[in-house]
């Protein structure tokens, strides 16, 4: 008599269903969406606690690092990734660039009424796979739904928490005169992948986003024993903007060598075609490292030995400059400023 009919509530129709306002209502529909979609794919012991927040173990010695990043990329799916894995990689990288080991993520979803559940499932699966690969679980989350026309499919905000061992914290303030500037690989891949997709530029060799979590590469760099002063991921605004930020924070100038900058031929061609400069185009799986000059070769070797750093290169040096200019010796033989990005080169890139 008291047997509970298990399938009384019809399962979520992931194949044909759409997000509706009830999915954000806090009621049964939302509960179902969380159970059958989010918890199913992202599931882990902390998420399974089912409370309003996650109860986490104390990470031990060191300082905590927390970083947050909102993702509004358009299109949601692009060659090499989608908003799901991007939202995991982006925040892990922000935590890792502080010198920390990323431990946990939270994820907040803003869904637009009418968004296909099949697309949402694809995105959540991609997030889950990225989180699993990175070993950084999503431990808590939130879902809201806005009326049709008030969002653009889905926006995802992720927050990451990590721990940095005593004395290991990094900062953009630590670049020193004489330091070497390294990049971990080719520039502008993510931005041009998005741009090519958005403008339906049918390039023969498709440009693929480099979206990736970089904490593994950083660990390998640490183990080389090189004296790393600054790490930063050159996302929006590209390498140029990132280096200008560091130059300002550290109160130094920089000189790049144009010939040393790694750029894929397809990205270069697409930039040429669209009148863009790869130095200003976003990356999602690359980092800039600034280290003591004596350690540069050692660090370069460690980066190149890692799958995410195969195309790493030493691209410049830090020097004294009261104006904090980033300059470049052009392949042509002249000199020029590599300025901050002005205006918006590519909106909604991540």
């Amino acid at each position: 008599m008291t047997e509970i009919r298990k399938n009384y509530v019809r399962p979520l129709d992931i194949k044909h269903g759409q997000v509706d306002m009830a999915h954000g209502s806090g009621g049964r529909a939302m509960e179902q969406l969380i159970e059958e979609l989010f918890a199913r794919h992202l599931g882990n012991e902390y998420l399974a606690q089912g409370d309003d927040g996650a109860l986490l173990p104390h990470p031990g010695a060191g300082q905590l690092v927390m970083a947050t990043d909102s993702h509004v990329v358009s299109p949601l799916f692009f060659p090499g990734g989608d908003i799901g894995c991007l939202s995991v990689h982006g925040t892990i990288n922000d935590v890792a660039m502080m010198g920390a080991k990323p431990l946990w993520l939270s994820a907040g979803f803003i869904l637009e009424e009418g968004f296909k559940l099949a697309d949402l499932a694809r995105i959540v699966q991609s997030m889950a796979a990225a989180a699993k690969d990175a070993g950084v679980p999503v431990v808590t989350g939130d879902t809201k739904v806005v009326e049709r026309g008030k969002g653009d499919g889905v926006f995802i905000t992720t927050t990451g928490v990590g721990v940095v061992a005593p004395g290991q914290a990094l900062s953009g303030r630590r670049a020193q005169v004489g330091d070497a500037i390294l990049v971990s690989g080719t520039l502008g891949d993510h931005g041009m992948a998005i741009m090519a997709e958005r403008e339906s530029l049918g390039f023969e060799s498709p440009i693929v986003s480099d979206t990736a979590a970089l904490h593994g590469l950083i660990e390998a760099m640490r183990q080389s024993g090189a004296d790393i002063h600054v790490l930063r991921d050159p996302t929006r605004g590209g390498l140029a903007t990132t280096l200008n930020e560091i130059a300002k924070q550290s109160g130094v100038g920089m000189m790049l060598q144009e010939k040393a900058l790694p750029v894929k031929p397809a990205v270069n061609a697409a930039c040429e075609f669209l009148g863009l400069d790869p130095l200003y185009v976003a990356n999602e799986g690359k980092l800039v490292a600034i280290c003591a000059d004596l350690d540069a070769e050692k660090l370069l070797a460690a980066m190149r030995a890692h799958p995410l750093g195969q195309d790493a290169a030493i691209v410049g040096r830090v020097h004294e400059d009261p104006h904090h200019f980033v300059q470049m010796t052009t392949g042509f033989g002249g000199k020029r400023i590599v300025d901050w990005l002005s205006g918006e080169q590519l909106p909604r890139i991540c």
């Binding site: 403008e199 010939k259 052009t330 392949g331 042509f332 002249g334 000199k335 020029r336 400023i337 002005s342």
Partner: protein, 375 residues
């Protein structure tokens, strides 16, 4: 990249620089104006001036379409978007051009104007087809290079019978701008702007050919060398200009022979002539009102003329008092001579139009060269 890198080769550049140094006479100075923003950009971006001897000075010309667009025209476009509720399409560079009341198209967009950035005039036509309930206006700017695509768009719209597409035509003509500079008192009477020759337009010349410049060479005794937009093109053209000056010649020479011939693109010229006719006068930013210097849409295509469809009238608006864009566009002043340069006026917050486009003299100097001012 193939066919591009060859024109940016540092070793060839050093060889050319050496040749220029050898040929430039130490006892005189050479002042050349590069007409186009494309050349200005290449010179700044690749550091071409670093490779030139001190005796050679490059003067930036007015050939940057966004830079010569007067406030009154941008105001018209903003008015269409904000007051008439049209969907206004334009090339990206236009969005940040400062207009009246602290507005720009970008700011008008934030205020709710339906303003779209397009990559070609065809995108605007496609938008009109897709949204038959909206009036779509293409804000058409630029020199002769961008004029044929606008003509195509108008003909396309006519063929499709579109009732919701029109063009706010602000196309201008290169030869008029060159005349205006050569006729300016600074060049002609006072000699305050010494001008020994021109680097002639690259892309514009693919359309109009090299013939239109022959008049300037003969009448004003100024050598013209048409050059491509790659840094080696520019250096080669400088060398050719120095030779002409040294030999007392004033001819039109063509460095950009891989793309330009004497007659240009006849088909494009015919298309333009079919759709457009001369305006009696047109205001340019910095050069004031120039006679027969711009195009308007022929009456045959009047229904696609936004000025007629929306009964627009033109109200000229003076530039900011301290802004030196006018003098800079005529070669009278350099960007760093302007009080506003780099302080009040920056690429983030442009006061004058030369700070907007990457081809503008001020933006190019700010972005690529300002370290030289403080060194």
């Amino acid at each position: 990249m193939k066919y591009i890198d060859e024109f940016r080769d540092g070793d060839v550049a050093r060889g050319l620089a050496e040749a220029i140094r050898r040929e430039a006479r130490p006892d005189r100075r050479y002042h050349f104006m590069e007409f186009c923003g494309g050349h200005t950009h290449a010179i700044s971006r690749y550091g071409v001036s670093d490779l030139l001897p001190d005796t050679v000075r490059m003067i930036h010309g007015p050939g940057c379409p966004v830079c010569v667009l007067p406030i009154g025209r941008v105001d018209q476009a903003i008015g269409l978007a904000l007051e008439q509720g049209v969907t206004l399409c334009t090339y990206g560079d236009c969005l940040r051009v400062p207009a009246s009341d602290g507005l720009s198209l970008l700011k008008a967009k934030a205020r709710g104007g339906d303003i779209r950035m397009v990559y070609s005039s065809a995108d605007a036509v496609a938008l009109a087809q897709k949204h038959p309930d909206k009036q779509v206006v293409f804000f058409a700017i630029g020199f002769e290079t961008t004029t044929p695509p606008t003509a195509v768009a108008i003909k396309q719209a006519a063929a499709l019978g579109l009732k919701n597409f029109s063009v706010l035509c602000c196309h201008v003509l290169t030869p008029s701008a060159i005349s205006s500079i050569l006729e300016s008192p600074e060049v002609r009477q006072w000699g305050t702007v010494p001008l020994d020759g021109f680097i002639g337009p690259a892309h514009v010349s693919t359309i109009i050919g090299s013939r239109p410049y022959e008049f300037f060479a003969e009448e004003y005794r100024k050598p013209v060398v048409i050059a491509g937009f790659e840094p080696l093109d520019v250096m080669q053209a400088i060398r050719m200009l120095i030779r002409q000056v040294n030999q007392g010649r004033a001819e039109v020479e063509n460095e950009f022979s891989r793309a330009v011939d004497r007659d240009g693109n006849r088909k494009a010229q015919q298309l333009v002539a079919e759709v457009f006719e001369m305006r009696k006068h047109f205001e340019w930013r910095g050069l004031n009102v120039l006679p027969y210097s711009a195009l308007r849409i022929r009456s045959q295509f009047a229904e696609f003329d936004a000025e007629k469809r929306f009964a627009l009238s033109y109200r000229p608006v003076p530039d900011h008092k301290a802004c030196e864009c006018g003098a800079i566009l005529r070669g009278v002043k350099r960007p760093q001579d302007c009080k506003l340069f780099g302080t009040v006026c920056t690429p983030e917050n442009p006061v004058g139009s030369c700070m907007v486009s990457s081809e503008g003299a001020c933006a190019a100097h700010y972005t690529y060269g300002r370290y030289k001012d403080v060194a």
